[in-house]
């Protein structure tokens, strides 16, 4: 017996929603999915009419669906937004070059302007070159830190008011779990926020319109909409520890599908006891970017690369910051410690 769609109660259901367990037909699912994103945007007051919004596009499923839905909702509900695509080219052969091709196709399909900023032009290093120097351990640290700043720099070049990223509910829940496992109380508090407020010069506010969308539903949406996206893991192995959290979350979801939302709900309702020390936000003395230290992470990492001391930005070496700022050479002992790279 065919299952009827629980929305329209007329058509045959084509899928079972991972989030609620309801059986829906294609049209009702599309509508529910889009409507949910719309309500999130409205409820969280993510955008104001007339704003220019940069969509962080990697070519992957999340950002492709984000671009598609943002364009659609902007027209359907007359948000009055000017949308643009913003991509970062990390310089990873066999991965990013391919996914950027997808972004370029998306640009034509959605008729949105596209800006690509590359690590090479911003930092003088591609990820390929970085991996050559630092090895396959901790390379994700470089990539993550650089990307955060690169997006901001790209956003400023494009003169956008806001950036929206494709982080989905699974990503947010996973980050909550990660921060608990690392005991990172400052991030634990921040990570469930749907948008960041403008933190200062050179930082563009960000938001996550897909924050409450299940990863599986994003894939379903892209599949049924036949969206063109790129799905390959990064060639430089993904982070092992995050992998544990990810597997755990998937297992949780299989035991109780609402788990993902439950974790987010937990994260949203946590708060930190008074008197717990929190990092204070300042600015980097070299580049002016936000930083809780004298030098921002990206400047330290870059310095490490340029000095041939890749471990400089890995772990905590705050006491060396003054030396770096005044361009002093490091002692031989310090150099030796930072040079060793274990594979």
């Amino acid at each position: 017996m065919p299952v009827l769609c629980s929305g329209c109660k007329e058509k045959r259901a084509a899928l079972k929603r991972p989030k609620t367990g309801h059986s829906l037909c294609k049209e009702c699912f599309f509508w529910a999915f889009e409507e949910e994103v719309h309500r999130t945007i409205v409820a969280a007051k993510l955008f104001k009419p007339g704003e220019t919004v940069g969509i962080a596009a990697s070519g992957g499923k999340d950002s492709t669906v984000l671009a598609h839905v943002m364009k659609l909702l902007n027209e359907r509900y007359s948000y009055g937004l000017e949308l643009m695509l913003l991509s970062v080219d990390e310089g990873i052969t066999g991965y990013r070059d391919d996914s950027l091709e997808t972004v370029k196709r998306n640009q034509q399909q959605y008729e949105l302007p596209l800006k690509i900023v590359s690590y090479e032009e911003l930092y003088g290093w591609t990820m390929d070159a970085i991996v050559k120097q630092v090895g396959l351990k901790n390379n994700c640290t470089f990539c993550g830190v650089f990307r955060r700043q690169a997006l901001d720099r790209g956003a400023i070049m494009l003169k956008v008011d806001k950036i929206c990223t494709g982080h989905n509910a699974d990503d947010v829940a996973e980050t909550v779990l990660m921060n608990v496992l690392r005991g990172d109380i400052a991030r634990l508090r921040r990570c469930t926020a749907i948008s960041t407020v403008s933190e200062g010069e050179g930082v563009v506010p960000r938001c996550k319109p897909l924050k409450y969308a299940y990863e599986k539903e994003i894939v379903l949406y892209a599949y049924f909409k036949k969206l063109d996206y790129f799905s390959t893991e990064c060639v430089y192995s993904p982070n092992a520890y995050r992998g544990h959290a990810r597997t755990f979350l998937k297992d949780l979801e299989s035991v109780r599908p609402s788990s993902i939302m439950d974790v987010i709900h937990s994260g949203e309702n946590l708060s930190v006891r008074d008197g717990v020390k929190m990092p204070v936000q300042g600015t980097c003395n070299r580049c002016g970017y936000i930083s809780s230290q004298a030098l921002c992470k990206s400047c330290v990492l870059l310095e490490g690369l340029n000095r041939g001391l890749p471990k400089l930005g890995i772990g905590k070496h705050h006491r060396l910051h003054d030396k770096l700022l005044s361009q002093q050479p490091l002692t031989e002992r310090e150099e030796r410690k930072l040079k060793s790279v274990d594979f």
């Binding site: 409820a43 439950d262 974790v263």
Partner: protein
């Protein structure tokens, strides 16, 4: 997804196999007997001293247990709570200045009825434990979980919170105590309560029905926890105890913290895992074992022959994925093997947390969850996971409007439920899943109960309720308190236009 500064070098790195030095790190003389953490080797004597000191330090640091106070030790028979019992015994027998000064009693809750043990098996366990309790000389109470069916609704209705006893009063209280008790030592009078009070078979049956009405092991475990806690608190109240000591150790609490997060209990995290938990007002739950790892306790129990008794629980002999609680436990223990700082890192997080919904001890009774007695976390702003879930459920059952751009009314969690129709967004979930009972929950008699209970529960307890086929098996004390609260809120609604302030008048 790679995040900014995603490096895990500090703490998360695998540590090398410790080079075991043969001498104790403390006295540097005796040869080592245990390795507690990597590199920390202790001899027998120093380990004992360290272990005992930790217990006293935990109580001394927190200054919550007042001298002379009656404290109920919740002993399940497991290694952790038995170790706690032995520490209290140890502490009471020490010489004057280090001595613990409260007067302990023991409670054992027999849950054999839930896990399907025979009467004979239950009797045997109880006899074994009672022999252990008798040896301590403390008064003890053996309570069958079945008794939860007969609790008065005062358990979940708030008892007035006692006059605040700030830490500054602690010194004074100690002084008083020393003066008053210098002459008369209060000796624990033997309350002869041997053997389990007879449990009528019908009660066991009711309890099993109740637990069975939860369709998932996750919900069953959650429900059992709630019932157990109610029974503990009730016994403490009727027997005149002000504090209840729980045997949760560091490992257990790390698992519990992560479990709480995965069950959507983020708002209640601080109470669920902190040293003291004042949600019940006049009775405070304390966790003095929270600094010990399970491993330390196992070593201590083994070396100093602290006996424990095995009692099966709901998740005994189940697979990893049997429930959220079970899954989290196996996740943490497995991760701990590879990354030895996992437990302590998670545990330390618990010390930095506080509930958003302010101190729940001060919240109005009607603002507290009917089951877990924590402040409700369901009245949240528009952009929240809770609201998003409600939206999803509602949208999945609404017809695609075809014409786009129409104004869709925003729905509130409160206003969507009592619309009269059976399968409103709130109750439909239950209808859909209760397949075995032939949609029993949709009959007009029970349906309002389900939806109404829901509004009295916190986010996480709502999830548990959702996993239950019906609420009719819940103990009477919960149901009648629910009805009382509903009547009260109806009354409030009727007179709302005449009320000047938002505060509840005389409850």
């Amino acid at each position: 997804m790679c995040q900014v500064e995603e490096d895990y070098r500090d703490g998360l790195e695998r540590v090398e196999v410790p080079s075991v030095s043969k001498k104790c790190v403390k006295c540097k003389e005796a040869s080592a007997a245990v390795v507690i953490r990597a590199g920390d080797t202790y001899c027998r004597g120093c380990f004992k001293e360290y272990f005992i000191h930790k217990f006293r330090a935990m109580l001394g640091k927190n200054r919550i247990i007042f001298p002379g106070e009656k404290v109920l030790l919740a002993v399940s028979g497991g290694p952790s709570s038995c170790s706690m019992l032995s520490q209290v015994r140890e502490g009471l027998s020490l010489n004057a200045h280090k001595k613990l000064r409260f007067s302990p009693g023991i409670i054992y809750i027999d849950e054999g009825g839930v896990v399907g043990q025979t009467v004979e098996e239950r009797r045997r366990t109880v006899a074994e434990l009672q022999a252990m309790f008798k040896a301590t000389g403390f008064p003890f109470h053996t309570v069958a979980l079945e008794q939860v069916m007969d609790l008065p609704s005062s358990v979940v209705a708030m008892a007035p919170s006692p006059s605040e006893q700030p830490a500054s009063n602690y010194k004074e209280a100690v002084g008083h105590f020393l003066q008053s008790t210098s002459s008369s030592r209060s000796t624990p009078q033997d309350e002869e309560q041997t053997s389990l009070p007879e449990v009528p078979e019908a009660h066991t049956h009711f309890l099993q029905q109740l637990i069975g009405s939860a369709k998932t092991l996750t919900a069953r475990q959650d429900l059992l926890n709630t019932l157990r806690q109610h029974l503990l608190v009730h016994t403490a109240r009727t027997e005149g105890y002000g504090k209840v000591m729980l045997g949760d150790n560091c490992t257990r609490l790390a698992v519990k913290l992560l479990t709480s997060i995965t069950l959507g209990r983020g708002a209640q995290l601080a109470q669920d895992t902190g040293f003291s938990d004042a949600r019940y007002g006049d009775i405070t739950l304390v966790r003095p074992m929270r600094d010990y790892s399970a491993k330390e306790i196992a070593y201590y129990n083994h070396m100093f022959s602290v006996a424990s008794v095995f009692t099966p629980s709901l998740d005994t002999k189940t697979t990893d994925k049997a429930s959220i609680q079970r899954l989290t436990e196996s996740f943490v223990t497995k991760l701990q093997e590879d990354f030895p700082s996992t437990v302590s890192t998670i545990y330390r997080t618990s010390e930095k947390l506080q509930t958003t919904c302010r101190s729940s001890a001060k919240a109005e009774p009607s603002d507290k969850c009917l089951l877990c007695v924590c402040a409700l976390d369901t009245a949240v702003e528009n952009a929240s996971a809770f609201q998003a879930t409600l939206t999803s459920e509602q949208l999945s059952q609404t017809k695609y409007p075809g014409a786009a751009g129409t104004e869709i009314p925003r729905q509130n969690p409160e206003s969507s439920a009592p619309s009269g129709q059976c399968c409103s967004s709130g109750g439909a979930e239950d209808c859909g899943r209760a397949e075995r009972g032939g949609g029993g929950c949709c009959s007009s008699a029970k349906e309002p109960e389900t939806t109404d209970l829901k509004s009295l529960l916190c986010y996480s307890c709502q999830l548990t309720l959702k996993d239950m086929s019906s609420v009719e098996h819940l103990p009477q004390y919960i149901l009648s308190e629910a009805q009382r609260r509903q009547r009260r809120s109806q009354m409030r609604e009727e007179i709302s236009e005449f009320l000047l302030e938002d505060g509840e008048g005389g409850d």
